[in-house]
Symmetry: C2
Subunit: 138 residues, 2 copies
DNA sequence: GATACATCCTCTAGCCGCTAGAGGTTCAAG
DNA sequence: CTTGAACCTCTAGCGGCTAGAGGATGTATC
């Protein structure tokens, strides 16, 4: 039986965060000692690891809720889990593309700054003048 | 003189957001009509464009505050503006590296899913088993 | 001048995913 | 039996908006 602190260490999750997951129903209510402290078993440790790992992959808590639900029903077809993962992959790819464009523009800004007065600073100039910009008003 | 709605259209910023920027002191208090409606001039339009453009480049509102401040003092040396931009560039590069790792793992997950029951789903399996994972506990 | 109605106003509360802190209780070691 | 680390609940805050209630203003048309 693990205390919340031990669970925290084992999973790299802050204590407060574990309680938060319980509060929003992502983690089940654990058993308690006589004095009211939480005690966790291995099933709960696994569940929290699953959640954490999914978070590290950028899944939203809602997506994780779905994934956990699927994981709890081994006989259902797995297309849904696949779809969720594909959705996530797509999002990651979009974000990457966006960041790539940002990086290009930031690099341009930084490289052109010659280090004089702010009046002549390319960084500020670029920020002022949207017209030279690669990023669109979405 | 622009109404808040027109300013909103010209800059692609929601009306509420403009008022929010005013509230947190990023935009100056504009003039008002007799009836109390906001009216904006070109200086304010420029300032909001600057803010929006900076936001699109991922600068935080705090960083933008600094950049605006520098922009208001043309005789100061521009190292600071440059430093802020470099910091931002570094952040973007870090985020990109992270996303790249995520993409790799997500792709792996998705490609290995053969479409059976959730019990055999590679997606869920990978999420369950942290040990095969490329992303580290930071 | 009246009327319609789009746009404006202020205010409060909510979103996500935590995180921090106050103020008090329980547990385990010595 | 005492110490003190770890636990408890509760509330509020972060960034950066966004939404909605409920009411006032501005402008175009008759």
């Amino acid at each position: 039986m693990l205390t919340i602190g031990n669970l925290s260490k084992k999973t790299g999750t802050k204590v407060q965060t574990i309680r938060y997951y319980e509060q929003i129903g992502l983690m089940p209510e654990p058993g308690r000692t006589e004095g009211g402290q939480r005690r966790y078993d291995n099933a709960q440790l696994d569940r929290l690891s699953f959640i954490r790992h999914s978070r590290q992959l950028g899944f939203s808590l809602d997506a994780i809720r779905e994934l956990l639900d699927l994981s709890d029903h081994p006989n259902r077809p797995c297309d849904e889990a696949d779809a969720i993962a594909r959705r996530q992959l797509k999002q990651v790819e979009q974000r990457m593309a966006r960041l790539k464009a940002l990086r290009t523009e930031l690099k341009r800004m930084v490289h052109e700054c010659s280090g004089g007065r702010t009046a002549d600073c390319r960084v500020l100039e670029v920020l002022r003048d949207h017209s030279e910009c690669l990023t669109e008003h979405e």
